[in-house]
């Protein structure tokens, strides 16, 4: 007959065994997530479980906003109304001209047998919260795969690009901001069409324009817009303005810092643009570019 200790003394495996087990499990998950991106299914399931908690965590903020809205005085609203009316009136002739131009453009394109650009659809979304992860710059928006959001779609607000959807859940998506260290965006100087690529800056909230020759024609205050050659961002969206240029004769490249045009700390409303249908699938497009830098961690940016 086996002697069993009373249940009070039965504490299961030793803490060291347990911690070893859970640490190995966590390391396995991390490797799967960071290296192979296999953990997305696990993430989807856990995200669904965490969703109610996140909504509850949002409640005090929503309450604050509604209270703040309630106390917004009518005077301020009237003022805003007048301003908007004036703005609309000023924009009306432009809009009329735009319509005729669009019609003309369509005709010309048809004439040239050019592939007609599809009008890009967009989804209106609201920023739920900014990620608390101090290592990356992300925000979470309230639309997910049920609303037709796909990973890789660009996100803009009323003044410019804020970033790109990098992970989609059922009811939410994560948007990586342009100022994230791993985020890159192809740009063009609006003044002279010079092309460049901006990366998330070393300083928080700024962008760096890397690999621009020291004698490149770029000045303080230049506006940079998306160039559209990546097939992800539509061309011509404002992205940033040049804040500072350091030209040092010792280096081949100039050090250029940009201030993003759009800011996520101001408004909560954003638009998720769907990429144009004719864009090539980025997974294939990225492959040849990755070959020279095998040693670097392959990143998936769909």
């Amino acid at each position: 007959m086996e002697h069993q200790p009373p249940p009070f003394f039965n504490r299961g495996p030793a803490p060291l065994v347990r911690v070893t087990f859970f640490v190995s499990l966590a390391i396995l998950l991390m490797v799967l997530d960071a290296r192979f991106r296999y953990a997305e299914n696990v993430r989807q399931v856990v995200a669904l479980a965490a969703y109610p908690i996140q909504r509850v965590a949002m409640a005090p903020v929503d309450l604050f906003h509604s209270v703040a809205n309630y106390f917004a005085s009518t005077a301020a609203l009237q003022e805003e109304n007048t301003a908007l009316r004036t703005k609309q009136l000023r924009a009306a002739p432009e809009l009329l001209r735009l319509e005729s131009l669009q019609e003309e453009n369509r005709q010309l394109r048809r004439l040239l047998d050019a592939q007609e650009r599809l009008p890009s659809k967009s989804v209106f979304a609201e920023i739920l919260y900014a990620g608390r992860d101090p290592f990356s710059r992300k925000v979470v928006i309230d639309k997910g795969s049920t609303n037709g959001i796909l990973a890789g779609q660009p996100v803009i607000d009323d003044v410019g690009v804020i970033g790109q959807v990098t992970r989609v859940y059922l009811l939410m998506s994560e948007v990586t901001l342009l100022s994230d260290k791993d985020q890159a965006i192809p740009l063009q100087v609006q003044r002279n069409g010079l092309r460049a690529v901006a990366y998330g800056g070393v300083e928080g909230g700024m962008l760096d324009l890397r690999f621009m020759a020291a004698n490149a024609d770029i000045r303080n205050g230049d506006t940079l817009v998306t160039s559209g050659i990546d097939g992800t961002y539509p061309p011509g969206l404002p992205v940033a303005t040049v804040a500072r240029i350091e030209r040092d004769a010792a280096y081949a490249f100039a050090k250029i810092s940009l201030t993003p045009t759009a800011g996520t700390d101001r408004y909560r409303e954003v638009l998720v643009l769907s990429s144009e249908a004719k864009a090539p699938p980025p997974a294939e497009a990225e492959k040849p570019a990755q070959k020279p830098s095998r040693s670097k961690r392959p990143r998936k940016r769909e």
Partner: protein
């Protein structure tokens, strides 16, 4: 367990529902929309360490790991990063839980500070290994705030266990 209580008191057994409630509230605090403010205290870690120290049979490494996983997904961080550091935190808290009660509260807070700093350091090492940049020294401020909050936290979390069902001046419960 609570040997440093001024009149030596025997605490009531902790309710599982209360433990779950406090952990859920701490998780909510962590998931509040902090707009990339560095140095926000990691309250989940502090409450977790508290329960690992005070109720080591109820709260342990498995619960810590699960909470960490929820936080990873909620924050959009690397999957398993908080899970790993919380599991290690729970292990360390379990390792010191027998002796930490012998110290006054502010010395307990120093113990906790060390544990939380180690946890944050672990997270930092993981993220830097995975290719992230250094977020600045302000990142560690959260641990100091949590350690400073430890006496308040201890008082609040032990409050329901101090409420005797029948008050009696001459009884230590």
């Amino acid at each position: 367990m609570e040997l440093r209580e001024q009149p030596q008191r025997i605490l009531l057994p902790a309710k599982v529902s209360f433990i779950a409630l406090t952990l859920a509230l701490a998780l909510l605090f962590n998931l509040l929309p902090w707009r990339n403010i560095a140095g926000v205290p990691d309250l989940t870690a502090a409450v977790l360490a508290f329960w690992c120290i005070h109720q080591p049979r109820r709260v342990g490494i498995g619960i810590a790991w699960t909470l960490g996983l929820l936080l990873d997904v909620g924050n959009g961080a690397l999957l398993g990063q908080h899970a790993l550091s919380y599991a290690v935190l729970a292990f360390l808290a379990l390792a010191v839980h027998r002796r930490i009660h012998w110290f006054p509260l502010w010395q307990q807070a120093l113990h906790l500070l060390l544990l939380l700093l180690l946890t944050q350091l672990l997270t930092l090492v993981i993220r830097i290994a995975a290719g992230a940049g250094f977020p600045g020294w302000i990142y560690f401020a959260g641990s100091f705030i949590c350690a400073a909050l430890w006496p308040v936290l201890s008082f609040l979390l032990l409050l329901p266990q101090r409420q005797a069902e029948m008050m009696d001046e001459n009884r230590p419960i």
